[in-house]
Structures are given as C-alpha cells and as structure tokens.
C-alpha cells in the first residue's frame, strides 16, 4: 500500500512538472509588442484637453492586462527588426461625442440622455502595415459622470475588442 502511494505521488509530481513549461508557454503573449498612439479627434468632438492623455494611459494599462502582448511600448518607440512582424500598432479617432442630458436620463430613463462616445480604432501590423482589423467602439455613460470615467470605459472596451479581434485573427 505504501509503495502504491509513493508511486502515485511520484507520477503526479512528474505530470505536474511536465505540464509547468507548457503552462508557462501558454501564458506568454502572442505578440511581441503593441504600441498605442494618442487617438485623434474628429471635428466637433469637445472633450477636455486631458482626455486624450488619460485615454492613452488607461488604454496602455488595459492592454497589459489582456496578456496578449509581451510588451506595451510607448508612442514613438523603436522595435527590433526581428520583433516587427509580431508587433501591432493601434491608432484611433474619436469620431463623435454627445454630452447627454441629465434631466432626460433621470426623467425618461431606458438609456435616454446618456453621454456617448464613438471611436474608430485600427490595428496594423508593424512590419508590413497590414491591416489586422478596424473596430467601431461605442461607449455610453451616465451624463453626471466625469469624462475621465468615460475614458476608463472607452479604454476597457477598446482593449477587449482588440483582444477578441487579434485572437480571432490568429485562429
């Protein structure tokens, strides 16, 4: 009985040790680098000046959390030639912003009067500029909320869309 337990434990340890490198390999990012650029603004999009900076910073922090990339590099950083084919550049434009109406939101409800932001995001492979996807993202928020919260929501949605788009691209 004691021998049986010892053999079982040894076998279990062997399986776990064999599986560990495989797990480590799976958890590594699929792409070497990703560079998120500051998003442009279309004419008529009236958001506070710090919005773009905040969205950029938040998007970078959200892209780290996707675990799809080995490195999230800053805007305008160089990438080694060898890493360029497995590197992605994210550009985007804030195409439409509606301030919303707090009274409508409170009185009518059902999503009426909400603050909304539309973004057009493009994913490009760094080496050959191949388009890896174009995403249309729309974010809605309560009109009483600060614009920074809108930026956080936008970054979260963009990161999720980027992840699902690139995962789909690979499969």
């Amino acid at each position: 009985m004691r021998t049986f337990v010892a053999i079982s434990l040894a076998a279990l340890a062997g399986i776990l040790l064999a599986a560990a490198p495989a797990r480590a390999k799976d958890s590594k990012g699929k792409y070497k680098t990703v560079e998120a650029k500051h998003f442009d603004r279309a004419e008529g999009v009236e958001l506070m000046p710090e919005f773009s900076d905040y969205l950029y910073a938040e998007l970078r922090s959200r892209l780290v959390k996707t675990k799809l990339f080995d490195q999230v590099i800053g805007e305008g950083e160089v990438v080694e030639e060898a890493d360029a084919p497995a590197s992605v550049v994210i550009t985007g434009t804030l195409t439409e912003y509606k301030k919303g109406n707090a009274v409508e939101s409170r009185v009518i409800g059902f999503g009426t009067g909400k603050r909304s932001l539309k973004l057009q995001v493009t994913l490009v492979r760094r080496s050959d500029k191949k388009n890896l996807g174009s995403l249309a993202v729309r974010v809605k928020a309560d009109p009483r909320w600060n614009e920074k919260i809108l930026a956080v929501e936008a970054a979260k949605q963009v990161a999720n869309e980027v992840k699902s788009s690139l995962e789909h691209e690979g499969s």
Partner: protein, 226 residues
C-alpha cells in the same frame, strides 16, 4: 374710582453682563487662532521621513542600438514646470513629497540607464552627443479617482563638434488607484511615479525621435527597426 396710575416697575438688570461678554471673547479668540494656524499648516506641508517617497528606476532602461557606438553626456537638466514646491506631490493628507528634486531624479535615471549600457560619457568633451533636458511636467496630472502620474521632457540633442542641436520630446504616464490608508497611498504613489519615470526614460532612450536625431547627427543609416 378710577384706574390706578401705572407704576413703572424697574426690570432687573443683569449686573454681570460685562463678565458674560468677557467669557465669550476667550472661546472666539481660541477658535480664530486655531483656524488660522490650521489653515497655515494645511497650505504649507513640510517634508518629513514619514511623508516622503523614494522615486528611482527599479531597473535601468536599455537604450536602443545605433549603427555605431554613441556616447552621450547628460548636460543641463532644467526644471521648466514652474512649480513653486517641486518636491511636493500632493497636498492631501498633510502632504506627500518626493525625496529629491525632480531634476536630480531625472538626471540619475538617465545616467544610470546610459551607464548600464556603456553609453555614458564622463564629460562633455569626449561625448558624441550632449543631452540637455528640460523638465516640463513631473507629478500628478488632474484626475478624478486615481493617481495619474505624468512626466514630460523636452530634450535638446546637441552635437558638440558642429554645435547643431535638435529638440525631441518624451513622456511617461502611469495610473494607480487611490488607497484608503496613507501608508498604502504613499506606496501606490511611489509605484506610480516609478512607472511614469521608467516610461519617460524608455520613451526617450528607445524613441524613434532620438534614433532620427542621432542618425542625422552622425550621418549614418538606421540600424534599429521602425
């Protein structure tokens, strides 16, 4: 029979009215003094060991590779942020400070990164290029419910031989959440600032702008990727 003539009845007057007024003066004076002292303290926090954070690069940033070895010298690092209290990070919770002047922090970060990659020249005379750094922002940017650390640099890349200079910019940002306890908040701020500093130095030393400036200064083809 007639109505009796109304007799004026003297009302009792408080004899110690003057004393009552005197008793009120003391609490008002104490209240005013404490408010004045409190407001002075609130406006002018002082750095102490328990409200100071240490900002430095955890690991040196590896600079990009150039077509031929280049030696840099970090010349002037000038604070252009216009902050009257450059070491003060935030006024909240009695004030939180950084342990050194921002210009010293940035200089040390740049020099340590260049030195680790053997790209730091000991003096200006032997350097291929001189980096004169202007610090436009070092601290927290306005934010709602978190810390948004931001560092903005403008760097003049000067060729000491020709005297020609090119200006490039670099920036670093970092976001961390606000903690409930002051000790945790200071830890978060430290992480936030270290992240922003690392990001800014990386953005400068691995930036395409520096690559182009160096390439045009030494007139050699690009070696690193785009």
């Amino acid at each position: 029979m007639g109505f009796p003539a109304p007799a004026l009845r003297p009302l009792p007057t408080r004899g110690n009215l003057g004393h009552a007024a005197i008793f009120m003066v003391f609490p008002i004076f104490v209240l005013t003094f404490s408010m004045a002292v409190g407001s002075v303290w609130a406006d002018d926090p002082k750095p102490k060991p328990d409200n100071t954070i240490h900002v430095a690069l955890a690991t040196p940033v590896t600079p990009q590779k150039f077509s031929r070895p280049v030696k840099f010298f970090v010349g002037d690092v000038i604070d252009r942020a216009g902050n009257p209290q450059p070491m003060l990070v935030t006024n909240a919770r009695g004030g939180i400070f950084v342990d050194r002047l921002p210009v010293d922090i940035v200089r040390e970060a740049l020099e340590s990164s260049l030195k680790a990659a053997d790209m730091l020249s000991p003096d200006a005379a032997s350097a291929d290029l001189i980096l004169n750094v202007y610090l436009f922002h070092f601290g927290l940017a306005p934010s709602l419910a978190d810390f948004f650390g931001k560092i903005e640099l403008a760097v003049a890349v000067k060729d000491p031989k020709s005297g020609k200079s090119q200006q490039i910019t670099a920036s670093g940002t970092s976001i961390s959440h606000v903690a409930v306890r002051k000790k945790s908040e200071m830890k978060d701020l430290e992480t936030d600032f270290n992240g922003a500093l690392s990001d800014a130095v990386r953005n400068l030393l691995r930036g395409q702008a520096l690559h182009d400036a160096v390439a045009s200064a030494i007139e050699s083809p690009a070696s690193a990727g785009n």
